[in-house]
């Protein structure tokens, strides 16, 4: 194992997959000459040239559609949205075309495409630039939705996404790009399957399901809770569609209580989906109602003091764990 930043892990995944398959190409705004708005694609243009690393004008619906069309006839595009906020102008391409054509064509046409880019709040970028896009895309049959929290998952899942024969919505975290984590050594190929949860921390008292930036908030909160005698078991679903609840149910059998922590708004979305499934799949094991700690139900404000109250905090996680544990 060696340490890599999340951004570098993603970059390696793209390098490796472009190296092994000429059908893979990267397209998006500023991905080439500028080396990526967030430097994820740094060096790719130098190595693979303008044929395979393609800077586009600001035309998301256009280049998402171009990607889908190219995928329909055999290429394997990686389409980068500068951020997922800008995918909304391409929403129709993803929902009506990418997610539908396989079934519409009675299974004749495949769309092996990855849409990727940073998702969620960054810092003080205000309401139009802070969306957590998972709920919009997890709603749609015909898509996979992946949201890795660590460098290792980012690399292993992106490689699987690129090799998938289906459209994958790949949600990265702008605030996670600089976070370092362990990744298998060079030359050791790891493909992390889409649709598998991961145990991030073991504990017997309370299960916490979380992903994305709050993953780190939760791990920090878990340490504080441990100091107070409450051991949390943390599970990262990693893929939000399809959702793997097996590990969560297994954990609940031990802890009998669960808190789900996520950045997206509380109305619906994967957070609510997880709660819905767990209350059915683990009903007999529950000692407390499932709780959620979410981004507050408001558009993201600019001011830092307010943004800090909107995003899930350690305090809110600790309070929720204590509530379901009936602890003070």
């Amino acid at each position: 194992m060696r340490k890599l930043r999340y951004r570098e892990a993603l970059r390696e995944a793209m390098f490796e997959e472009m190296e092994r398959d000429d059908r893979v190409f990267l397209m998006g705004e500023e991905v080439g000459h500028y080396q990526g708005a967030y430097k994820v694609s740094e060096g790719l243009l130098d190595k693979y040239g303008e044929r395979r690393v393609i800077d586009t004008p600001i035309a998301e619906a256009g280049f998402a559609g171009v990607g889908i069309g190219a995928a329909m006839v055999g290429l394997r595009p990686i389409i980068e949205f500068m951020t997922w906020n800008f995918s909304f102008v391409a929403f129709d391409q993803i929902i009506s075309n990418a997610a539908k054509v396989h079934q519409m064509s009675a299974g004749e046409i495949q769309v092996p495409i990855v849409f990727r880019g940073p998702n969620g709040a960054a810092k003080q970028v205000s309401s139009q630039h802070s969306h957590s896009a998972a709920p919009f895309y997890t709603h749609i049959p015909g898509l996979y939705v992946v949201q890795p929290s660590t460098a290792r998952d980012a690399k292993g899942l992106l490689k699987s996404a690129i090799r998938s024969n289906n459209p994958v919505v790949f949600l990265e975290g702008e605030t996670l790009y600089g976070v370092a984590g362990e990744v298998p050594d060079e030359g050791v190929e790891e493909l992390i399957p889409i649709g598998e949860s991961r145990l991030a921390r073991a504990g017997a008292d309370c299960t916490i399901v979380t992903w994305g930036r709050p993953y780190y908030t939760v791990l920090a909160a878990a340490e504080k809770l441990a100091a107070q005698g409450i051991e949390c078991e943390v599970i990262d679903p990693r893929t939000l569609r399809p959702l793997d609840t097996a590990l969560m149910v297994q954990s609940l059998k031990k802890t009998n209580r669960c808190v789900v922590v996520h950045e997206h708004w509380p109305y619906g979305g994967p957070g609510a989906e997880i709660v819905d499934r767990l209350q059915r799949e683990a009903f007999d094991y529950l000692d407390a109602p499932l709780e959620r700690v979410t981004g507050l139900d408001v558009p993201m404000p600019y001011a830092l003091n307010l943004e800090d109250t909107v995003l899930p905090t350690e305090e809110r996680v600790i309070d929720a764990v204590k509530r379901v544990s009936y602890a003070k």
Partner: protein
């Protein structure tokens, strides 16, 4: 006014570096003549839309520097009460209908306010600003299509500062002259340089007059240049120092000063104005600094509008 914008932006950059301002900060330095000329031509009742690069036009329209700086500092006294930040200035009283963050997203809104003018028989023109990078996105084409079709009283002003983030125009458009796009939407196009405030004023006035007379929209491409990076996080490595220095020879603010001196205006008088501007901006920073932070009640109570009177 151009000096106010210039000094405001320089001070904003300084306070961004100091951490008093966060998020994205897109400066207007180099493009000041356009905002000043355009607002000069408009009436108080007219509407204005701009992208996230919105400080210059808001100040030119009369937004107090205090309210603008306080917004950047995320304060309750800001023009959007600290909820919007740099990219989302609003001053509804002055017809400044926003700073918008999604490229191309506000052009149809401008067609919409122009639609209202026509619908209600009001003599109000809408002016909508955006960058040349925005002329490739669907939102641009659809707004232009509708405005052209319905002959709406709107002026689309493309501030062509040559770069869309790090990408020069020649890599985003097969056209050099963007104004010819106007033809495809059945509207008049115009194209000129943006560093001379008098030229901008004269030419943009024609477009506004056309809209006011009910003769339909105009697409105006104004050639300009931003002296800073796209936003504070962009070191602008994609352009050469020589190019920048060359462009700085056409500094719209310096040009005005030269012209005034040429007309015999006393240099001391100009220096006095500069000092006044410095004081105004310093006062704005003090005001922003001392203001109370943005408030949670305002955030919660502005998600939805109150029901009742309709």
């Amino acid at each position: 006014m151009m000096m106010v914008i210039r000094r405001f932006e320089e001070e904003a950059a300084r306070h961004y570096a100091k951490g008093n301002i966060g998020g994205f900060l897109h400066l207007y330095i180099g493009q000041e003549a356009i905002a000043v000329a355009a607002t000069e031509v408009l009436e108080d009742r007219d509407y204005i839309f701009q992208t996230y690069r919105d400080h210059g036009i808001a100040l030119a329209r009369g937004m107090p520097a205090n309210a603008a700086m306080a917004e950047l500092f995320g304060k309750d006294t800001g023009c959007s009460r600290g909820l919007g930040g740099s990219m989302h200035f609003f001053d509804v009283e002055r017809g400044f209908l926003g700073g918008w963050g999604i490229v191309g997203g506000h052009l149809a809104l401008a067609a919409g306010t122009a639609f209202k003018s026509k619908y209600a028989g009001e003599d109000r023109v809408t002016m909508c600003f955006f960058g040349e990078g925005s002329t490739n996105i669907g939102g641009f084409h659809e707004a232009m299509s509708l405005a052209g079709l319905w002959k709406l009283p709107v002026v689309f002003v493309c501030e062509n500062n040559q770069y869309a983030m790090g990408t020069p125009l020649e890599r985003t458009s097969p056209l050099k002259d963007l104004s010819i796009k106007a033809k495809g939407y059945g509207m008049v196009g115009d194209r000129f340089e943006g560093h001379d405030v008098e030229v901008v004023q004269e030419r943009i006035a024609e477009a506004v007059a056309r809209a006011r007379a009910g003769d339909g929209p105009t697409f105006v491409e104004i050639q300009t240049y931003r002296f800073r990076g796209h936003s504070m996080s962009d070191p602008a490595k994609y352009r050469s120092r020589t190019e920048l220095e060359q462009r700085k020879q056409q500094d719209p603010v310096a040009l005005v000063r030269e012209r005034l001196l040429g007309l015999g205006v006393d240099e001391n008088a100009l220096d006095d104005i500069d000092l006044e501007v410095d004081e105004e901006i310093d006062a704005a920073v003090r005001f922003a600094d001392e203001s109370a932070p943005a408030r949670e009640e305002v955030m919660m109570s502005t998600v939805l509008a109150p029901e009742g009177d309709s």
